[in-house]
Every structure is written in structure tokens, then in C-alpha cells.
């Protein structure tokens, strides 16, 4: 048997499940494009009204790449493990999954891997294409992009997101309903991962602190690495921070799972 042999099917499954709802592919892609276009015009207005070419270290082309890349990174690393857990608890199918000879966390991981592969194809690649087209248009004015350190940063961000989200999904065990918390978490996470505004635009007192929080490691750091804004020592520190958070959430999710599975009471019992 290959390692993780029985888990890899879950990746394939989650991809074919997503593909079976074809309209979703287009709507999802369209939603992401629309959001990026709206942010593009917003920032264009900001740059035009400020009368400056560079704001907080970001030139306008850099800002555009930032917007496209952030949308793509957040879509690629957005783990749905927490939602899967919450959903399984809500409809009670977790009972069915616990009577199978599978490690629950590993299974959810391979499931989430499928979603990310799907997002890579339908958001990552279009975003990459968009950036390449933009580079062609801008010519010499386009920012230099560092793909080589970006890829490991993206991978770390994906893993971190997964274990973080898994912990969050376990909260569903305790609350049995996590809708409200998920909304709150999304707002906080979007803001602190730089999904709306680069952290560089935050007020001084918040910027340094926010940069150390796990959300920055999930979205902001990979994009800053791509834009070449973290180099040398800063780059290594960024990686170290990501690894630190990853280790923490890996440990926490394992611990939380062990404790919570003991007090598990499935709905409808």
C-alpha cells in the first residue's frame, strides 16, 4: 500500500464533487474577478486623489499585483476543513465517519487538498495569467516577482490555514453551531491577513503587532514574499514565523481533537 493510499481518494473525490456542480466553477471565478476589479478601481481612486506615485512603499502596479495575488492566495489556502467538520456535526454524518478506520484529521486534510487543487486551477492559474498580462502591459514599470521563495511560503500558508481552520471547526463540537463565530472570524481574518488593505497601511501601533499574528502568516507574508518586499534576513524571519505558527496549530489541533472526541455527543443521539 502506498502511504496515505486510502486518504488520497478523498482528494480526488472532493475535486470531482466540486466539478459536478459546474455552474459553481463560473460563479466562483466570476465572484473573485468582480471583487478584484472593485478593489482595483478603489485603489486607483486612492492613488489618483493622493497625487503620489508610491503609497507606503507600494507603487500602483505593485498594488494591483498585490490585490490579484492576495485574492488568489486566500482562495488557494482557504481551508474548508472547519466547514466540513461543522457540516458533519450539524447533519450528524460525523457518526458515520467515526465508524470508519480513518484518522479524522488526515481525512479532512486530504479533502481540503482537493478544494485547494480545484482553486489552484480555477483561481490560481487565472490570477497568474492576469499578472503575466499586466506585466506585459506595464513593461519596464512592472514590479519584479520572486516566485522561488513564494512557493514555499504559499505551501506553509496552506498548511497553517488547514490546522488553524481545523481548530476552528472543532469549536463546532462545543457550540454545535458556529455560524456567528465563523462570520466574526472571517471579518477578522480578512482584515488581518491583508485581504482588504496591506498591513503596511495599518496605523503604526497595529502594524507590527498584526504582522506577528497567525493571519499575517496565512495571507500577507506569501504575497509580500512574491512582491520581493521581504528579502534576506526579513525573508528568513517570515518563514520562521510561519513555521512557528504552523507547529503551534498542528499541536493544538491534535490536542483539541483528542479532548473533544471524548466528549463528543453527536446530534440526534
Amino acid at each position: 500500500m502506498k502511504p496515505f493510499g486510502k486518504y488520497r481518494r478523498f482528494t480526488r473525490n472532493s475535486i470531482s464533487r466540486l466539478l459536478s456542480y459546474r455552474a459553481n466553477v463560473l460563479l466562483f471565478l466570476f465572484g473573485n474577478i468582480l471583487q478584484t476589479v472593485v478593489l482595483f478601481y478603489l485603489w486607483r481612486a486612492v492613488y489618483l486623489s493622493s497625487g503620489q506615485a508610491v503609497l507606503r512603499g507600494f507603487g500602483f502596479p505593485e498594488m494591483v499585483v498585490y490585490l490579484v495575488a492576495t485574492t488568489a492566495v486566500l482562495a488557494l489556502t482557504r481551508a474548508e476543513g472547519g466547514e466540513i467538520i461543522a457540516e458533519e456535526i450539524r447533519e450528524g454524518s460525523i457518526a458515520m465517519n467515526l465508524v470508519r478506520p480513518l484518522d479524522y484529521r488526515t481525512r479532512i486534510f486530504f479533502d481540503a487538498l482537493g478544494t485547494s487543487a480545484y482553486n489552484l486551477a480555477f483561481v490560481g492559474l487565472p490570477a497568474l495569467a492576469a499578472i503575466l498580462v499586466l506585466k506585459g502591459i506595464w513593461g519596464a514599470a512592472s514590479p519584479d516577482l520572486l516566485l522561488l521563495p513564494f512557493l514555499p511560503a504559499l505551501l506553509l500558508s496552506f498548511l497553517l490555514n488547514f490546522f488553524y481552520d481545523f481548530c476552528f471547526g472543532l469549536v463546532a463540537f462545543v457550540t454545535t453551531n458556529m455560524w456567528g463565530m465563523k462570520r466574526l472570524e472571517m471579518v477578522v481574518a480578512t482584515l488581518l491577513s491583508g485581504g482588504l488593505v496591506p498591513l503596511a497601511f495599518f496605523p503604526d501601533w497595529l502594524r507590527g503587532f498584526a504582522g506577528l499574528l497567525p493571519w499575517a502568516s496565512m495571507g500577507y507574508i506569501p504575497v509580500m514574499v512574491l512582491l520581493g518586499k521581504l528579502q534576506g534576513r526579513a525573508l528568513l524571519e517570515a518563514f520562521a514565523l510561519q513555521i512557528l505558527w504552523l507547529a503551534f496549530f498542528w499541536w493544538l489541533s491534535g490536542l483539541a481533537w483528542k479532548r473533544l472526541v471524548r466528549r463528543l455527543a453527536v446530534n440526534g443521539g
Partner: protein, 337 residues
């Protein structure tokens, strides 16, 4: 095969307050109540037995099944399944058991049935040859061929249940837990499912634990029944024993004359009946009076004249008590082993 010892499970549940105001109030305060779902159960189940595990809603059946399958940890006591504690070694236990929850499916909603099966083949690490052989057997017993390629969400309830049963058996489990496997099925499919369970038990030596509200399932399948109520064991024995002991009950249905349909005479009938058999029951179903009595205590020859003396009997019929009614009496607390 299964040893249950002094098993207890207590749930702490927080009560919700009714209405919108209640929902707001619930955000701040919470009333925690403790419920004993399972309260000191002990029993053994032997290899290759088919055991009916029954009880009224909320009696603690599902809770016990969950502890046996390893998805719930007991508050105290223990369950030993095939030599291991399922809640301590969930994954290992899961390899040896098959589970069907009648109200849930273990199949993948969006995938064709054949894909769900091959996924389970991978999960349980079933070899190609074994898989092909078992699938052929299950197809023969359950008739799966016609909908093998349909997505599970398009299957009818009967098809889905047959598919679910097959899915729980692909890895040839030593123990099969069936939680209301015939719920909502029509008579033909019920028969098919029961037939399949019988054959699997016979041909593969699978131990079956069956919970159901359909007592025909019990009569068709089980050699032994365990009845629980409020988390406690109230009956554990063979079906024959139960029948021999309580199968003496007969049910007499009377239609009475008079302008009020004989309602005025009910009290007198009750008195006459209990004078002959103190354990008798009396009830009314629309126009009919239903009398339950023990044949060994009072024969019809004595009962009918006694009743006719106090009321005007227009019509009567008699029948044996079905196992269903015996079980009702167990639930009602009138029979204890």
C-alpha cells in the same frame, strides 16, 4: 464477542428557552441538566448471534450502539468488543465492524454508487479478488446491479438502504450493527433486507446487533432480544422464552349493545374481568372494547358467560397476542425478567 459491564453514560445538556426572547436569554444564561441515557447495563453477546436490541424512543439504544462502535466514551463501566475497548481504539475497532444507520447514509451523496463502493474498498484496504467476490455476492442477495452507476442522491429509499447495507459489508466485518435498517421501507424491500441479513449471518458468521421499532424484524431475524428502558435492562432472553411465558395472553374484542354503545357497562365488565384474572387489561378502541387476559388463568368458557351476565354483547372476536403487544407490555413495565 461483546461484553457490556455496568455501562453508564450521562449527558449534560443545556436547555434552550422557547421563542425569540428565549433565544436572547439563552445567550447569557443556560440551564444545565444531566440525563442518564444509559444507566448500568450489563450483557454479553455471543459470536454469530442475531440480537434484537429494542426499547422505546429515548430508551438509550443509540447511545449504547455508539459506545459499542467507539464513537462515544462511557461515563463509567465498559464495553469490550472482540477483545478491545472500541472508544480507546476506535480505528482498529472500525476495521472489524459494519454499521448501518437507517436514517443516515454512509455513501457519498454526489458520487455514483460504484464510486462509493470503490472508495470504501480503499478505505478498508480490501484486496481486488475479495472485493469482486463480495460484490458479486452482495449483488446477488440485494440486487444492486440496476443502480450501480446512479449517483446516490438519485436512489430511492429502498435502493439506498440496500446499497447502504452492501456498503457496510464490503470489508466482511465480524460484527454488523443495524440501527433501524427497515425504517420507511415497503414490504418487499423489507423482506429483501431481512433475507440478506439472514444469509450474511449464516454464510459469513457475522454477529448482528439490530435495533428496530419494527417488531416483525425481530420476529423474522432474532433468536434473542434485549429490551432496555430508561437506560436499564428490562428483558434479556430468547424470543421463544418470552413467547412461552407471555404468549398465553389473548385478546378479546367486544362490541356492545345499548344506546351508549355499552359505555355504561364498562365498569362492570372491568370488575368481572379482574375477578377472574387480576393481571387483565381493559381498553377501548373506537366502538370496540379490548380485553387482554392470560389464557392459563381464565379460559374463554368461564370468561364469556361472566361478561354476558353484566353487558349486552353483540359481537366478539379473539386472537393471540402478537410479540408486538408483549413488547408493549415490557415497555409499560408490566413484564420484567
Amino acid at each position: 464477542m461483546i461484553e457490556v459491564r455496568n455501562l453508564r453514560k450521562t449527558f449534560r445538556t443545556s436547555r434552550r428557552y422557547p421563542g425569540f426572547r428565549g433565544a436572547i436569554k439563552g445567550l447569557f444564561t443556560r440551564e444545565v441538566t444531566e440525563t442518564k441515557a444509559v444507566d448500568g447495563l450489563s450483557f454479553d453477546i455471543a459470536d454469530v448471534e442475531i440480537v434484537g436490541y429494542i426499547g422505546a424512543n429515548g430508551a438509550g439504544k443509540s447511545t449504547t450502539i455508539k459506545m459499542m462502535t467507539g464513537t462515544l466514551t462511557p461515563t463509567s463501566g465498559s464495553v469490550l468488543v472482540d477483545g478491545l475497548l472500541p472508544y480507546e481504539r476506535r480505528v482498529e475497532n472500525a476495521r472489524r465492524i459494519g454499521v448501518v444507520f437507517g436514517q443516515r447514509t454512509q455513501l457519498w451523496w454526489d458520487l455514483p454508487l460504484s464510486e462509493s463502493f470503490s472508495l470504501l474498498k480503499d478505505i478498508y484496504e480490501v484486496g481486488d479478488a475479495d472485493y469482486a467476490r463480495r460484490l458479486a455476492f452482495l449483488d446477488e442477495v440485494l440486487g444492486l446491479r440496476d443502480f450501480m452507476l446512479s449517483p446516490v442522491r438519485t436512489l430511492s429509499l429502498g435502493q439506498r438502504m440496500r446499497a447502504d447495507l452492501a456498503a457496510s459489508l464490503l470489508h466482511q466485518p465480524r460484527i454488523l450493527y443495524l440501527d433501524e435498517p427497515t425504517i420507511g421501507l415497503d414490504v418487499v424491500v423489507k423482506d429483501r433486507v431481512r433475507e440478506a441479513v439472514k444469509r450474511i449471518n449464516r454464510e459469513y458468521g457475522t454477529t448482528v446487533i439490530l435495533t428496530t421499532h419494527d417488531l416483525d424484524d425481530i420476529e423474522e431475524l432474532c433468536t434473542r432480544i434485549i429490551v432496555i428502558d430508561s437506560g436499564r435492562l428490562v428483558w434479556d432472553g430468547s424470543l421463544e422464552e418470552l413467547r412461552a411465558r407471555y404468549g398465553q395472553r389473548r385478546e378479546l374484542r367486544l362490541r356492545l349493545g345499548g344506546t351508549d354503545g355499552g359505555r355504561g357497562a364498562e365498569a362492570a365488565i372491568g370488575t368481572a374481568l379482574r375477578a377472574l384474572d387480576p393481571g387483565a387489561s381493559l381498553g377501548r378502541e373506537e366502538e370496540e372494547l379490548v380485553l387482554g387476559f392470560d389464557r392459563s388463568r381464565v379460559g374463554l368458557g368461564a370468561l364469556v358467560p361472566a361478561l354476558m351476565a353484566v353487558a349486552e354483547v353483540l359481537d366478539w372476536s379473539i386472537r393471540e397476542t402478537k410479540i408486538e403487544e408483549i413488547v408493549k407490555l415490557i415497555y409499560a413495565g408490566e413484564i420484567r425478567s
